[in-house]
């Protein structure tokens, strides 16, 4: 039934929730998603998503568990094939987003990986794989690669543990190394899958500072999946709110409003602001289902 909702159906989200940007995005968009749908068997995970991302903006992909956030990111990264719709990228030097994924420079940071503490790999070797790991043949040690790796390590403030064994890094350190691995290839779009989960407050804050710098100083567009928007509030330009496979994009003030979220959830929700934190709270009468998104609470 919800799919028939006239407010949502076929609405280009960029024009709905953020009408101001509708014309501007066409010029400076680096990523254009139109009519994207993904289904797993009978389950519709993403339903007719339309959105575009501008150069050098930091966008949080936010929503409750199982809403389709990671699926959206993985579809953009090319890790799964959508059933319908197109994803277009701008070339590195600009222009309208017409290029396919192969011509785009994508950096991808996976969810935390676990490694055996004895794997004979230093953190800088993992970063180096981002530089030339996709090439066949052996590589000779070269200054270009070393400089790129050092730069990437410095960018994420990981120079001091660059020589440590990667299997013995802490969660926050490993996360920074994975970001450096993505940055070393000088991407125009950086995709991060739940980079803040299972990090303590201090490490999460460090990661947010890094992506903030990457987006706003280096001009890389950053898309970041997270289930808690609060750590990102200070750095985020726009927000993609995903619920039940549908998405709205806009600034936090435009999107995180009861009437907008109500159209996504299909029932009343409240948005509560407490001491600079935003909580989305379900209506009491929906009981368990509403509780699903209490995760925004600290």
């Amino acid at each position: 039934m919800r799919r028939e909702d006239p407010e949502i159906k076929g609405r280009p989200v960029t024009q709905g929730a953020a009408p101001v940007t509708a014309t501007a995005t066409q010029d400076e968009a680096v990523l254009q998603i139109s009519d994207l749908s993904v289904t797993y068997g009978a389950r519709v995970v993403l339903d007719q998503i339309n959105l575009s991302i501008r150069r050098g903006e930091l966008v949080g992909i936010i929503g409750p568990n199982g809403a389709g956030k990671s699926t959206l990111l993985r579809a953009i990264a090319g890790l799964l094939r959508p059933d319908r719709g197109t994803i277009r990228f701008a070339r590195a030097h600009g222009g309208t987003p017409r290029a396919s994924r192969a011509q785009a420079q994508l950096g991808y940071v996976p969810q935390r990986i676990e490694m055996d503490p004895d794997v004979p790999l230093r953190a800088c070797d993992v970063v180096g794989l981002g530089f030339d790991g996709h090439r066949f043949g052996l590589s000779w040690p070269n200054a270009l690669k070393r400089q790129a790796v050092d730069r990437a390590l410095a960018l994420v403030e990981a120079s001091e543990f660059g020589q440590s064994l990667v299997g013995r890094l802490s969660g926050g350190q490993l996360q920074r190394i994975l970001i450096a691995q993505a940055l070393v290839s000088e991407p125009s779009i950086l995709l991060l899958d739940e980079p803040l989960s299972s990090l303590d407050l201090r490490s999460a804050d460090a990661v947010v500072s890094i992506v903030d710098r990457v987006a706003h100083q280096s001009g890389v567009s950053v898309l970041l999946v997270t289930h808690d928007m609060n750590p990102l509030l200070r750095a985020m330009d726009r927000i993609i709110y995903v619920v039940n496979g549908r998405a709205v994009i806009g600034s936090v003030d435009e999107v995180v409003r009861p009437e907008v979220l109500k159209s996504l959830y299909g029932y009343d929700v409240d948005v509560v602001r407490v001491r600079g934190r935003i909580l989305v709270v379900g209506d009491e009468e929906y009981g368990d289902e509403a509780n699903r998104f209490h995760h925004h609470a600290p």
């Binding site: 289904t39 797993y40 068997g41 993985r74 890790l79 799964l80 996976p110 969810q111 935390r112 990986i113 676990e114 490694m115 055996d116 503490p117 004895d118 794997v119 299997g167």
Partner: protein
Amino acid sequence: MWHLLWPSGLLSFSFMQNAWMAGSAVAVVSAVVGFFVVLRGASFVAHAVPRGSFAGAAGAVLMGQSSLLGLGLFALLSSLGIALLGRRRRGAVATALVLVAALGLGDLFLSIGNVYAPEVFALLFGQVVGISRADVYFVGSLALAVVLVVAWLYRPLLMHSVSAEVAEVRGLRPVLLDGIFLLLVAAAATATVPVVGALLAFSLMVGPAAAASLLAKRPSTAVFLSIALALVSVWISLWLAYITSWPIGFYVSAWSLVAYLAVRLGQASRRGRTTLAQSDGALKTTTRGNFSG
């Protein structure tokens, strides 16, 4: 025609009666332990412990002792070795090293003792028709002991196998449970090796349990389904081995593969598109599990 399919002596010869009884006991114990083997992804251990115990049997024959004694001792020693070396997610490497060390010893015993080859052949590939009534009692009581221990520790073992972390939080000691699991494998190996041989003991542990865990949705159903599949596979194998006089291990392992493949193919064709979608999720799992070796 009929007497080819039902030759005389299939049930009446006393050695065949022993084979039926020992084979059934072995099937039950392998299936029960095999359920946990599959759940924990520990096929290598299930292969290495019986195989390593072969060295002990060779050593026992060399010293003029009962081969069962050597089997049991070496099964115990290999599982202890794996338990001690294999912590910190290096299980497979430790298992490989313990296994080759045991086999190296076996090689030494064989060349020192100059053991008569057919006897070794029987240890490797099993000799189901050579089972005495005393062997049946031994195998039967060992199987009963294993089943009782599993029944007693079923819940902790299950929780530990599914998620070691959750089990630890609930106050279960992972080292202890790892040890108990390995001891169960050792006991199952000791019971199984004389019947189906050191090389194929693990095919009974892995095959039926693997097919059962794909089919069943609940753990307890998987255990019983795995027992049923193992019993059917042993009975059919015994019957075929008796008719053709080919080694029983061949039939047991062939049935394991056929059952597993049939279930895998059945699921793949039923799911179709779903499997594709899930394999994407599966790749994600691989990311995390890649170094679990």
